[in-house]
């Protein structure tokens, strides 16, 4: 039976009605002389970085903080790490905090890597004995065995952050606070970092981090909080919070494009092209040929592109692009690549793109439609993500990812009896 850490210890961090205000000075008195010579009191505005935020981070959970730049995430992180004091409200933690707000922040350039490990360890509240015990794993993890006794000032920036990260995660943290810093180091080191974070998570370490990488938050975090302009907008399971966030970001982006009057009306975010022939609409037809607003995963779908030509056009190419809401291009078929000859069009009409089994998993997709000349260089009309396709769950049980690959599973019995070499997941350690 597995023991739920949270039920044992309760929350690791409790943020209780926390408000944080910073003084924004217009003319800052930084010297005594000014204090005595200027009559008027120092003028400043109060800036509310956080406004009455309350949340609990369960012990042993991985917790993400998301929001746009300047929303107050990092301020909250600094308050949690005890670096700043809340203006009102309180923050309580149970467990020793290891904060990674900047890798290698405590390094002294003239000292060797090893001396800096001791220095950094003691800043994080460790005794020399505890650092000694972790020294081998720190050096090993950083991969800097060769350079550990040279001054860190000769380190490359990559080496610098590797050592910093190694110290923070190998010093047996109880609560680990990370500020958007995993995106450092080379691919191999990054993977090692994630491996290690999973390891810490398994051991019951509470991890709190700020990230702008939403997929990372969704995969790594149990729970998340979304902060916007200092206010807690949403808090709960990471999946749901990220979805809420994306939905609002998309909406505001659409609003912005509309306000800026991009494209030629009809709400397109960007519409460009010569206009000799235009896409007038996109219709989705279900298996029975009836127009539909929501397609079904795994079933037949016809995408009908309606056009209006101002003049006869020779050899036009019709194209579509399917995007996820997060902006990932899933596929971009066009009639040229698919060797579909459309010799000459004039007036109005339509072109169909037929999918026998829609491979998209249930979600909402944004679709672009375009018409270009045969060289694909001259764009007649390009409507970037102007259309929305909702895909409902169908017969296929696939729910992960974006597309259904449609493969089949089979078992060959005991793998050791197989003649063919099996593919192993490569060990990263």
């Amino acid at each position: 039976m597995s023991i739920e850490p949270s039920s044992l210890h309760g929350p690791a961090v409790v943020v209780d009605h926390v408000t944080k205000e910073f003084k924004l000075y217009r003319d800052r008195r930084t010297s005594l002389k000014e204090r005595f010579t200027k009559r008027r009191p120092s003028r400043y505005d109060m800036f509310k970085a956080l406004d009455d935020v309350s949340l609990e981070v369960p012990a042993g959970s991985t917790y993400g903080l998301i929001g746009s730049n300047g929303s107050g995430k990092s301020t909250l992180l600094k308050l949690m790490a005890n670096i700043h004091r809340p203006t009102s409200g309180s923050i309580t933690h149970s467990g020793r905090i290891s904060a990674l707000l900047e890798l290698g922040a405590g390094f002294h350039p003239e000292l060797s890597g090893r001396d800096n490990v001791y220095l950094n360890g003691s800043i994080l509240g460790m005794s020399r004995k505890q650092v000694d015990a972790a020294m081998d794993s720190i050096v090993g993890f950083s991969g800097l065995e060769q350079f550990i006794d040279t001054p860190v000032k000769v380190y490359s920036s990559g080496m610098y952050v590797r050592l910093g990260f190694s110290i923070a995660v190998n010093l047996d943290p109880e609560i680990l606070i990370i500020d958007e810093i995993i995106a450092v180091g080379d691919e191999e080191f990054q993977r090692r970092c994630f491996d290690h974070l999973y390891e810490l998570r398994k051991r019951g370490v509470t991890i709190i981090f700020v990230s702008h990488s939403l997929p990372l938050v969704q995969t790594l975090c149990d729970r998340a909080a979304w902060i916007e302009k200092g206010v807690l907008r949403s808090e709960g399971p990471a999946m749901q919070v990220v979805d809420d966030y994306i939905a609002v970001v998309n909406q505001s982006e659409r609003d912005r494009f509309e306000a800026e009057g991009h494209g030629r009306s009809d709400g397109d975010r960007t519409r460009r092209g010569g206009g000799e022939i235009t896409v007038t609409g996109l219709t989705f037809l279900d298996a029975s040929g009836e127009p539909t607003l929501a397609a079904t995963s795994g079933e037949k779908l016809t995408v009908r592109i309606a056009y209006q030509a101002q003049e006869p056009i020779d050899d036009p190419v019709f194209g579509l692009a399917f995007h996820t809401e997060a902006g990932v291009l899933v596929s971009g078929p066009n009639s040229e690549f698919d060797h579909a000859q459309i010799s000459r069009v004039s007036g109005s009409g339509y072109v169909d793109y037929v999918l026998d089994e829609l491979p998209l998993t249930p979600s909402t997709y944004l679709i672009s439609a375009a018409i270009t000349d045969r060289t694909l260089l001259h764009v007649f009309d390009y409507r970037d993500r102007a259309f929305t396709l909702a895909v409902q769950p169908g017969s296929s049980p696939d729910r992960n990812g974006v597309v259904t690959l449609g493969g089949a599973w089979s078992t060959a019995g005991d793998a050791s009896k197989l003649d063919v070499p099996t593919v192993r997941s490569e060990s990263l350690r």
Partner: protein, 265 residues
């Protein structure tokens, strides 16, 4: 207090970081820690014993070598001076770090005080060797560590106060420089108090000047190292009281005032 003990490793590391980085990549390395005070000593000795003809009271063995008399005073003064001025620089220097990681803000200041202590111990060792060589060794040498410990506490309290003020008002540093220079001449480092005693109103002036706690620490050192007598009870009383008041006020004000120091740095 418990927190200071918990962060003793950090304080120690700040001290060793200061010491290690100070003389790294200099050809003479640690020798610099002696060359600087030696140069000061030489200049003062020449100016005051040759030009101004200062004559200290005779030492326990009867010698009146002004340069050694001055040496004792300078060791005590340099210690105080390094703790106070270095403390201000160390807190400003720890600023970027304090914005990234939580640790008590007094740690770099106290760490600096200990690194100054190490420097002073080296100077003291040289001093003891020289004094023994000229035949002025006395059992009262054992008082030196106690006097230095009290001076460390006294200077740390003052250092904490100035370090904190300096964060909020950066010209405190310059002001402290001016004030320290005046205090230097108000303390019998380069002049023997006996010179004053014989002048008109000398006794009164001496009374006023001896209120300065540094007067007591410097003269305490001279008692133990020069005249070879135990410092008087009233002198001990002054030294203990000054140390206790300084560290108490310094700590309380610093801890109250440093809660938002990470925003001001």
């Amino acid at each position: 207090m418990a927190e200071i003990w918990q962060y003793r490793g950090l304080i120690g590391n700040f001290a060793s970081r200061e010491l290690k980085s100070k003389y790294k990549h200099s050809v003479l390395g640690w020798a610099w820690s002696l060359i600087n005070p030696a140069a000061t000593l030489l200049v003062y000795a020449v100016v005051f014993s040759v030009i101004f003809k200062a004559s200290p009271p005779p030492a326990q063995n009867g010698m009146t070598a002004y340069v050694l008399y001055l040496f004792i005073g300078l060791v005590a003064w340099n210690f105080f001076n390094n703790v106070v001025t270095g403390g201000m620089a160390s807190l400003i220097g720890a600023g970027p770090l304090l914005k990234k990681i939580y640790f008590p803000a007094y740690a770099p200041v106290i760490g600096n005080a200990f690194s100054a202590m190490v420097q002073t111990l080296i100077e003291s060792a040289v001093l003891l060797v020289v004094l023994s060589a000229v035949g002025n060794a006395e059992w009262t040498f054992i008082f030196v560590p106690f006097i230095l410990a009290l001076l460390l506490i006294f200077a740390s309290g003052i250092g904490l106060l100035f370090a904190l003020f300096n964060v909020y008002y950066r010209d405190v540093g310059y002001l402290v420089g001016v004030v320290l220079q005046m205090v230097f001449y108000a303390t019998p480092v380069i002049w023997p108090p006996s010179e004053l005693a014989g002048r008109t109103h000398g006794a009164l002036a001496l009374h006023i000047i001896s209120v300065n706690p540094l007067f007591q620490y410097v003269e305490g050192m001279r008692d133990a190292l020069w005249t070879g007598q135990a410092p008087s009870l009233s002198r001990w009383g002054w030294m203990v009281l000054a140390a206790a008041v300084s560290i108490a006020v310094g700590m309380v004000v610093f801890i109250r005032g440093s809660r938002d120091v990470s925003e001001e740095l």
